[in-house]
């Protein structure tokens, strides 16, 4: 594979991508082909962003909304990762556990996070639990599935070597399955972060007084598309930060192992 790219070049290329994207956006919205209520230009959104940073909308400034969303997201997402990854690895190791969990998991994961809203409301009301449940239900499947399949596809040679060395099952999981499936697990965590954010809007249908999702729902019914887009940008931005963090970890491990 191509050699490691120096960071400056990487940034430059990334900037090119973003400039191209924003340019296209500005061109489409500026061309008048699309009404500004549907696609405001990037500058409008930027202005609105600055406005929302200081002025309160739907009960708080953007930062206030972002902060409460982040708390819910962090709780749901971390729970999903903390349960999903170990469970996935365990299922990859223990057939029986796999056989027990799989039928449930393979059904439940198809149920939309927002379909849980009524039950989340019935069970948790406006508590913290409801949103966490919904974000969890979005982020959990990729965490589990990627860990599970990563573990399943580990080269059997390594398992045989570990068993030959008398490695107990717990240690096989931490020292063989886990490192061997790191790329897959990180991909799962990245996807999970995206799906978790997506579920946030559903989650904030229950606890509606704060949150970026709530802000977006309110803005949508008020036909304030710029506000909706500020919300998307905010979520996108946090998503980018999480992604960069995860990818950095992955790249570091990858480099250490001299992967392709």
């Amino acid at each position: 594979m191509t050699d490691v790219m120096d960071p400056a070049r990487r940034l430059l290329l990334g900037a090119c991508g973003l400039i191209g994207f924003f340019g296209l956006w500005a061109a489409i919205s500026g061309s008048g082909l699309v009404a500004p209520t549907f696609l405001p230009g990037p500058l409008d959104v930027a202005r609105r962003l600055v406005f929302l940073l200081t002025e309160s909308f739907a009960g708080g400034t953007l930062l206030v909304h972002l902060w409460s969303s982040l708390q819910r997201f962090a709780a749901g997402y971390l729970l999903a990762a903390a349960v999903g990854v170990p469970l996935g690895l365990l299922m990859g190791r223990f057939r029986t556990l796999d056989d027990i969990v799989s039928p449930l998991f393979d059904g439940l994961r198809f149920i939309a996070p927002i379909a849980w809203v009524p039950f989340a409301a019935l069970w948790f009301g406006t508590g913290f639990g409801g949103p966490v449940l919904i974000i969890f239900s979005g982020a959990f499947p990729p965490c589990l599935l990627n860990a599970y399949r990563g573990a399943k596809h580990v080269d059997p040679r390594y398992l045989e070597a570990a068993e030959m060395l008398g490695t107990p099952s717990g240690r096989i999981i931490t020292e063989v399955l886990l490192p061997a499936s790191v790329p897959s697990i990180i991909a799962g965590l990245r996807i999970g972060a995206g799906l978790g954010w997506q579920s946030l809007v559903g989650a904030e249908l229950i606890v509606a007084s704060t949150g970026v999702g709530y802000l977006m729902v309110q803005a949508q019914s008020a036909v304030s598309t710029t506000t909706v887009m500020v919300g998307m940008a905010a979520i996108g931005f946090i998503g980018v930060l999480i992604d960069v963090a995860l990818r950095t970890i992955e790249a570091r491990i990858h480099r250490r192992l001299g992967g392709a």
């Binding site: 056989d99 449930l104 379909a115 997506q198």
Partner: protein, 261 residues
């Protein structure tokens, strides 16, 4: 017989869950019917959906409509997601250029795409498929990308040594090499197609399981919600089983322990 053992355990698990449900909600009443529907409620809702219909259509119509949307959305997402993932996995330049945009776009909830989808494609199936597509192509991209990166270096070197031209290299080295992870991505894309159905069918659906779930939510009809959820779960699992069969054929070359994942 590993397969029958597997299904035996699976059936047992489902039976235990069903039994727990009956015991908790129906018989003992430990969980009040207000919090979770009883088997009787659910049965009644199921019969209603099947015979009289719910949300202006019978269950069969809902299922068929949803299957169509999921199939088209899923196919669109892999048609875009896998090639994009291959490109981003192989070319550092492409990755550097595309990844920031991709990262920025992908956490956007499907609900937020709805206005644009309506604007571009109206209230027909097209808009719904677009919404599904936006949610479903992400896992394919990421898993494919990572899958390409995990191909062992010697194998890639061997292909280059043999002078493999670009397209053949993609088809015969990158794709099969990344295929275990590509299939992980497809599984998640398929899942995302199903889970986005509820959001997609907010776009003026006349039928569909998502439509049914939306209505049931609006109506606070837990029995019907459960019927919808179970249907989605069943058909999600069935479509996954189909994908699994394709995967088993495609990964026949791979040595794994305890059968295909």
């Amino acid at each position: 017989m590993p397969l029958s053992r597997r299904s035996a355990v699976g059936v047992t698990t489902l039976a235990v869950v069903a039994l727990a449900w009956v015991l908790l909600t129906g018989v003992s009443g430990l969980v009040s019917p207000g919090r979770f529907p009883t088997p009787a409620d659910t049965w009644a809702a199921g019969i209603q959906a099947m015979m009289r219909g719910y949300g202006d259509a019978t269950l069969v119509v809902h299922v068929l409509q949803s299957l169509k949307l999921v199939a088209l959305g899923f196919l669109a997402s892999i048609a875009v997601g896998v090639p994009l993932g291959l490109l981003m996995g192989w070319s550092k330049t492409a990755e550097a250029v595309l990844n920031p945009v991709f990262m920025l776009l992908r956490p956007i909830p499907p609900l937020a795409w709805i206005p644009l989808a309506i604007l571009w494609l109206g209230l027909g199936d097209g808009a719904k498929i677009l919404v599904i597509f936006f949610a479903a192509f992400v896992p394919s991209v990421i898993n494919t990308q990572v899958g390409v990166k995990t191909i062992e270096r010697p194998v890639i070197e061997a292909a280059r040594m043999l002078g493999t031209p670009r397209w053949r290299f993609v088809r015969e080295v990158l794709v099969p090499g990344a295929s275990p992870m590509i299939f992980t991505g497809l599984r998640l894309s398929l899942q995302a197609s199903w889970t986005t159905l509820v959001a997609a069918e907010l776009v003026g659906a006349l039928a569909g399981l998502g439509h049914m779930l939306n209505l049931a939510q609006q109506d606070l009809y837990p029995g019907m919600i459960l019927v919808g959820m179970v249907c989605v779960a069943i058909f999600g699992a069935l479509t996954t089983a189909l994908l699994g069969a394709v995967e088993r054929r495609a990964l026949a070359w791979k040595r794994t322990r305890g059968g295909a994942a």
